[in-house]
Point group: C2
Chain length 328, copies 2
């Protein structure tokens, strides 16, 4: 027995995690102590369908491995966090309308396994990011918290007793918490959702409306200067730095909606904390935390016991690290 | 050993449960199979402070025991469900402003133990009622559900994997889920809570306002006829039966708010179901379920997977039965 063990090589200890987004693919390599040994970032192919996209995902893993100074033989398994509807058991992704060809079901796990020769597991992008915060980030000292991923939309995840609550598989849609009955139109088709006030898309729509009404703002000048076609989190940050009134108003409205919706959840679940991440959360979080906290505090049923409001600690790597955690 | 066991009498198997309310005290006696063997109901003393109230609680237990054809020696333990802030570990009740003298802390468990000679445990009134539905009522086939107790206020409880989620001890305040930011004034001091649209108190306030504006309604005639000082659930039911327009409008507004707030919770937690109970829930539930369900369905993020919306099966005994379940 002892001899046999000595001659067996240990299983490969490294895990890869990939955060597949509509514009970027981020990959990390984690060792068994959850240290990030290597990373890679690339643009998501906008054309070419699933084949091109999965080729890029595989390339990002190999590039991150190289960055870690490791080889394919050191890699044990791979995790992928994806937008859309992820069926982890089946290894498929669908309804990811911002990734080329992923609106229809794609057998992503099997396809990537063929390309990389290692087992692949899928997870929901925001869900795995929130789990990463729970295990390694701002949530690691909290028994229960709401993860709020503030970006183009508003995603979420609920950690209870240290584990993510999945419900029947669709839990976490914090962006579709009601903020105002029969209120603003949400991109999801419903009315009055948090995302209709705080999502980047909704904020941009409102900025265009106010500009069309003749309000002065630097937002669109900054967009042209960056040769961008959208108001990115960086542009919002810049406009706030320049004390642009329109940007201030819209951001204040978003922060109020975020804080009020957080309070609804805390009133029901009495959570230890709220962790704010995502593209806008990472960029505007430090600046916006007081306004969010003030709205949250205002709407608490038990104001003497407010939850801790914390910023994500893993930043824009939370998704890739979380994906690595679901691997194997 | 065998001899000794044979000569020992078995521990008393019956449990008493008491639902302490602002107007009524209800008690039940349960056997080890959770069958209700006896019951008692009495008015809550409106004056005289904790001593009088606890005397009445003790009397209700003895009366229910008698109804069960049992004696004090058969009783193993007692559970009490109470409004206000219940500290189960300390055995105290406080902030129960609608029970005489219970606004300040009362050592209810110890006091009742002295009166009845049996161990007493306390629980939150709505919380234990929701647990009773989970174990013995409408929720027994659901892995996870939101219990909604629709009455003077709107209480709640969240059952996850069959167990009530307590958070840091204050979970369940579903009545203070936001329905409209900066909306109607809630009795709790906040604005736009569900309870500000759907609580019996809020509904009565709105009825008085509409009547003062000259709207015709039978609500207050019914109240006078019943020599009541408030619009009870029975009066609302009667007015709806008579197709009173004001009652219909206010109830529709309450049902919309209930359904929308339920949808917010289901979007976040993806629960199997929602169970509706409480005074108004029991009385108006059958009539109101379609309107509540329609608002709930309207605001679901994943409309193809609606939760089951069910009426409480234990009715107005849920609280007393739930209290018996926390005994011992």
């Amino acid at each position: 027995m002892t001899d046999q063990r000595d001659t067996m090589s240990p299983p490969p200890a490294l895990r890869a995690g990939v955060d597949l987004g509509g514009t970027k693919i981020a990959a990390v390599i984690l060792d068994e102590h959850h240290r990030v040994l290597g990373r890679a970032r690339m643009e998501t192919p906008q054309l070419g369908g699933p084949r091109k996209v999965l080729d890029a995902v595989a390339a990002s893993v190999l590039s991150a491995l190289q960055d870690a100074g490791a080889a394919s033989i050191d890699l044990g398994s791979i995790g992928v966090g994806s937008p859309g509807a992820v069926d982890a058991a089946q290894g498929t992704i669908s309804h990811a309308s911002n990734v080329s060809g992923f609106d229809k079901p794609v057998a992503a796990a099997a396809e990537l396994q063929t390309r990389l020769g290692k087992p692949v597991r899928l997870g929901n992008d925001v869900g795995v990011a929130v789990e990463a915060e729970a295990r390694l980030g701002a949530g690691r000292r909290l028994n229960s918290f709401l993860g709020v991923w503030w970006g183009t939309g508003v995603g979420g995840g609920v950690i209870l007793d240290g584990r993510r609550w999945l419900g029947r598989g669709h839990a976490g849609e914090f962006g579709h918490t009601l903020v105002k009955k029969n209120g603003a139109q949400c991109p999801c088709g419903l009315k009055g959702c948090l995302e209709a006030y705080a999502g980047r898309l909704a904020m941009e729509k409102r900025a265009r409306k106010l500009a069309a009404q003749g309000r002065k703002t630097v937002l669109f000048d900054l967009m042209e200067k960056k040769a961008s076609d959208r108001l990115s989190s960086g542009i919002w940050d810049k406009a706030l730095e320049k004390e642009d009134r329109v940007a201030q108003e819209i951001t204040a409205r978003a922060c109020e909606a975020l804080g009020l919706a957080m309070a609804s959840v805390v009133n029901l679940l009495d959570l230890d904390g709220v962790v704010l991440g995502g593209g806008l959360g990472g960029r505007l979080g430090p600046r916006c935390l007081p306004a969010i906290e003030s709205a949250l505090q205002r709407q608490l049923f038990v104001p003497e016991k407010p939850p801790k409001l914390l910023l994500s600690e893993l930043g824009d790597e939370a998704g890739a690290i979380g994906a690595a955690l679901v691997a194997r």
